[in-house]
């Protein structure tokens, strides 16, 4: 009897010691369409590496899984940070009892997350030796980090040096001072690149931090075959975590909230991520239920989806797939696609009336709706605003794109002095030859777009030449302002309009502003908008900024693609998130 009681006590103690609720027999199979680079959040910027890091590491704040419009919520902090009256000081109170996953570096002891980790992780991003492509997140914003990093001149970063911009007030309280009030700084704190890491882990694996991620997130890295396979297993040290949001309280939100209510997350014990760059094996694996989630492959759109003629960009699943219980979620991707002109280029750049007319005419020559129908297979909507749809600050009634009108385009060019010469092509207003060079990559998709553009240029009698090169070479030329015209896209880092509007902010020229657009009023408005919270005043500024862009036409507005996300019938809890790359911690499998 005593033995039995002791056994029962031992079982209860062990059950209480382990916070993990995940069923290790449940394996989620997913595929990446491109390879990852590694799992040091400070060193990687690609979507695929960040998707894994999201599950291993924690940020101070994160997004409510179900809420739309998107909403930030505390993650490892007790409540959203306290922000000082001048908007420059952020104070965070960490929740107690959050532990890193076990690692030999911790020598068998449980390692709690503390304010020192917050400070270290932010400083690390600025360390020149770490060479983080995301360093700007802290050096542009946190007081003193840029200057200190710059003053090092090759000397090691002294992590023990107290810097006024980021410091620990006590074991569980961290404070950050930013250089100027910035309403989007809070979003930066939700980016995975600024996730919390443990100093001793980073120092122990300094030579290979990409392969040794140790965080406080729901999963830990079990196996990694670069470019082929990644296996995650539930972190037994993960804190008790439940879904508390109801979202809209209707439809999928209600179903998810009701299913996950009271359940400790994550539910799935193991995640196997395969890298499948080819569409066919990815699709066949999904319909064979070897993959649990996927997106509709571009080549299979017409076989899988029935477009809804009444709602451009909306589709339904074909009956064949509906019968199998496969579920479709459509979501506008958090992005814009556009073609930009090099504003310092002597032929297409500049702010004179003739150049503006030339750029507008080129914009009017492309039949975007046809391109969306034929080249996007209907899976996109026209871009009308620098701020994408569904983002705060987007005015759905604002139509900024130059609509397809070759006759108007030709009239504009005639009026601006671009005359048609004896060879049937237009010359510049000064009579010199006019030929525009469009940058493009040697891919099948780009070749299709090139054909559409060739047709567009032929309609307005302008010679077009293609500069074909590898993406990184074009990107290099682009940052140096050497391209005349190139197609680009920007995916949101966070749901702030400034994340898109900064693409045309003058001081960002050569960094994110590849068009080298410079307008004093636009720049001033951009700075002003950062000081304001979401509301009518800020929206009015965004509206004016959009009007400046449309008026000077440095861009040809493209489209916003629709993501078609599929889940097999036994997958529960799935709702695609516009900013979070993965939602694995909320999923369950009921096979």
């Amino acid at each position: 009897m005593i033995k039995k009681s002791l056994l029962l006590v031992a079982l209860l103690v062990s059950a209480a010691g382990s916070l993990q609720a995940a069923d290790m027999n449940k394996v989620l199979h997913v595929a990446y369409v491109a390879p990852e680079n590694g799992f040091d959040p400070a060193k990687t910027t690609d979507l695929y590496s960040s998707g894994i890091s999201e599950n291993i590491f924690d940020t101070l704040v994160t997004y409510d899984y179900l809420a739309r419009p998107l909403k930030l919520v505390p993650n490892v902090i007790e409540a959203m940070p306290e922000i000082s009256a001048d908007g420059k000081v952020y104070t965070f109170h960490l929740r107690k009892g959050i532990y890193f996953s076990d690692d030999p570096v911790f020598k068998g002891k449980k390692r709690e997350l503390t304010a020192d980790d917050v400070v270290y992780s932010m400083k690390r991003l600025a360390d020149p030796k770490v060479n983080s492509p995301s360093a700007y997140l802290v050096t542009d914003n946190i007081e003193g980090l840029h200057d200190y990093a710059k003053s090092l001149g090759g000397k090691p970063f002294d992590y023990d040096k107290v810097l006024p911009g980021v410091r620990a007030l006590d074991r569980y309280t961290a404070q950050v001072r930013i250089t100027a009030p910035n309403s989007s700084f809070i979003y930066i704190l939700g980016q995975i690149h600024i996730a919390m890491v443990a100093r001793e882990v980073m120092e122990a694996y300094a030579e290979n931090t990409m392969a040794h991620p140790v965080g406080t997130g729901p999963y830990m890295l079990k196996e990694w075959k670069p470019g082929n396979k990644i296996v995650l297993e539930a972190n037994p040290n993960f804190r008790h975590f439940e879904l508390t949001s109801d979202g809209s309280g209707q439809g999928v939100d209600a179903e998810i909230a009701s299913y996950l209510k009271g359940k400790a997350l994550p539910l799935v014990g193991r995640i196997e991520v395969s890298i499948m760059e080819e569409e066919q094996p990815r699709w066949l694996s999904f319909v064979n239920q070897q993959l649990d989630l996927t997106s509709v492959p571009f080549s299979a759109v017409s076989r899988v989806l029935r477009p809804d003629p009444a709602h451009p960009g909306r589709s339904k699943l074909m009956a064949e797939w509906e019968k199998k219980g496969i579920r479709l979620q459509q979501e506008l991707m958090p992005e814009i696609t556009y073609y930009y002109f090099g504003m310092t280029d002597p032929v297409v750049g500049g702010y004179t009336k003739d150049r503006i007319a030339l750029r507008r005419a080129i914009g009017m020559s492309l039949d975007r709706m046809r391109a969306i129908r034929d080249l996007r297979k209907g899976q996109a909507v026209p871009m009308q605003n620098v701020i994408p749809r569904n983002f705060p600050g987007n005015d759905p009634n604002f139509h900024g794109a130059w609509e397809y009108d070759p006759a108007m385009a030709n009239a504009l060019l005639d009026e601006a002095g671009y005359r048609i010469g004896a060879d049937g092509f237009r010359t510049q207003p000064d009579g010199s030859p006019l030929e525009i060079e469009m940058a493009t990559s040697p891919t099948a998709v780009d070749r299709q777009w090139n054909e559409a553009w060739q047709e567009a240029f032929d309609k307005i009698r302008i010679r077009l030449r293609f500069k074909v090169a590898k993406w990184n070479e074009l990107y290099k030329a682009s940052t140096e302002g050497k391209l005349q015209l190139w197609g680009s896209a920007w995916t949101a880092d966070y749901p702030g309009a400034d994340n898109f509007l900064q693409l045309l902010y003058g001081p960002n020229s050569g960094q994110t502003n590849h068009t080298f657009f410079k307008n004093d009023e636009y720049d001033e408005l951009f700075r002003k908008s950062l000081l304001l919270p979401d509301g009518p005043e800020r929206n009015a500024i965004y509206d004016r900024m959009n009007r400046i862009v449309v008026g000077l036409s440095p861009w040809i507005f493209g489209d916003v693609r629709v993501g078609n996300y599929l889940s097999n019938p036994y997958v529960r809890g799935y709702k695609q998130h516009p900013i979070l790359i993965t939602t694995w911690r909320y999923l369950d499998l009921q096979k």
Partner: protein, 313 residues
């Protein structure tokens, strides 16, 4: 023989140096600057300079080439530029699956193509020869991608005879029995026709030799004549073809690996080229160059063994 081998080994040094120079020039000329891939969405001069220093791209071209020579001498190509994992480790993990696929394919292809080639060559001009020739021509005119896409769809998805894709990391036998058969079959479908045509031409050429007529006139049985005399002489070009293909076994099959999720070298090379990951490209190219030279030497030694009349100078 030993002097010949030593001389050939010595000759490999300038050849390898030439290959290295070529790889270095081609990469720097058309490979693109990887710093821009690694710099992320927001590029600043500081970030770019840091990356270039980290990758050693801030050094002069001769210094970079010297570093390349040192890496080859130590056979240590450092870490990958994209994943920062040691290149040696990446390639060591990739070579096994590639060899399992391409090695099996080579053996199966030899065991099927050679007998078919001998058979059709023996009956040259007859119906069977013409039928096989036509079938081979048709088979060769279809793109290898079609075999893979159709084969995967029909045999794996529709018929369910094979898994669509995948790999067993825990068991070599499991991977070989479960995941290799379909890519192997499709690889064979792609390579069988050209191999049959190729080998047939050698056997036909030998069958037209005077010694065959003499052997027949002497009353030698067709079997002895074919398998003892003709096949042995026809083997020399076959050995050349096989040994010259051996170094590329290491490289795996890019398309098959990509479609069937085989974690091999071919897919790794594609990824490396895509990301301008020069250390991985260097390591794979140099490995292939060295193995090509070694296997060419091996082929010459084998000629001597197969046909004692061959003299190695």
């Amino acid at each position: 023989m030993l002097a010949y081998i030593l001389r050939r080994l010595w000759q490999m040094v300038p050849t390898l140096l030439g290959v290295m120079l070529l790889v270095f020039i081609v990469f720097n000329w058309v490979g693109g600057d990887p710093s821009y891939i690694l710099a992320g969405k927001r590029l600043s001069p500081e970030t770019l300079a840091n990356i270039r220093t980290h990758l050693g791209l801030d050094k002069s071209m001769p210094e970079q080439f010297l570093l390349f020579v040192q890496q080859v001498l130590h056979f240590d190509f450092g870490p990958s530029w994209s994943t920062q994992q040691p290149v040696g480790g990446i390639l060591a993990a990739r070579v096994g699956p590639s060899l399992m696929l391409t090695g099996s394919l080579l053996v199966v292809e030899l065991l099927t193509a050679l007998p078919i080639a001998i058979l059709v060559a023996y009956y040259r001009g007859k119906l069977v020869d013409r039928a096989v020739t036509i079938a081979c021509t048709v088979a060769m005119s279809i793109s290898s991608l079609v075999y893979i896409i159709v084969g995967q769809y029909v045999l794996a998805y529709k018929a369910g005879w094979f898994p669509v894709q995948g790999w067993d990391d825990d068991s070599i036998l499991g991977a070989w029995l479960f995941y290799i058969p379909l890519p192997l079959l499709l690889g064979l479908a792609v390579s069988l026709a050209p191999s049959v045509r190729f080998y047939r031409s050698f056997v036909v050429e030998e069958l037209n030799q005077d010694y065959v007529r003499t052997a027949r006139a002497k009353g030698l049985s067709e079997r002895v004549m074919l398998f003892k005399h003709v096949l042995r002489n026809a083997l020399i070009p076959v050995v050349t073809a096989v040994t010259s293909s051996l170094p590329f076994l290491v490289l795996g099959s890019m398309l098959l690996e990509r479609f069937f999720g085989i974690p091999g070298m071919g897919n790794e090379l594609l990824l490396a080229v895509d990301k301008s990951d020069f250390p991985v490209i260097k390591a794979i190219t140099i490995t292939i160059a060295i193995s090509t030279m070694v296997f060419n030497l091996l082929a010459d030694v084998l000629y001597k063994w197969i046909d004692p009349r061959v003299e190695l100078k």
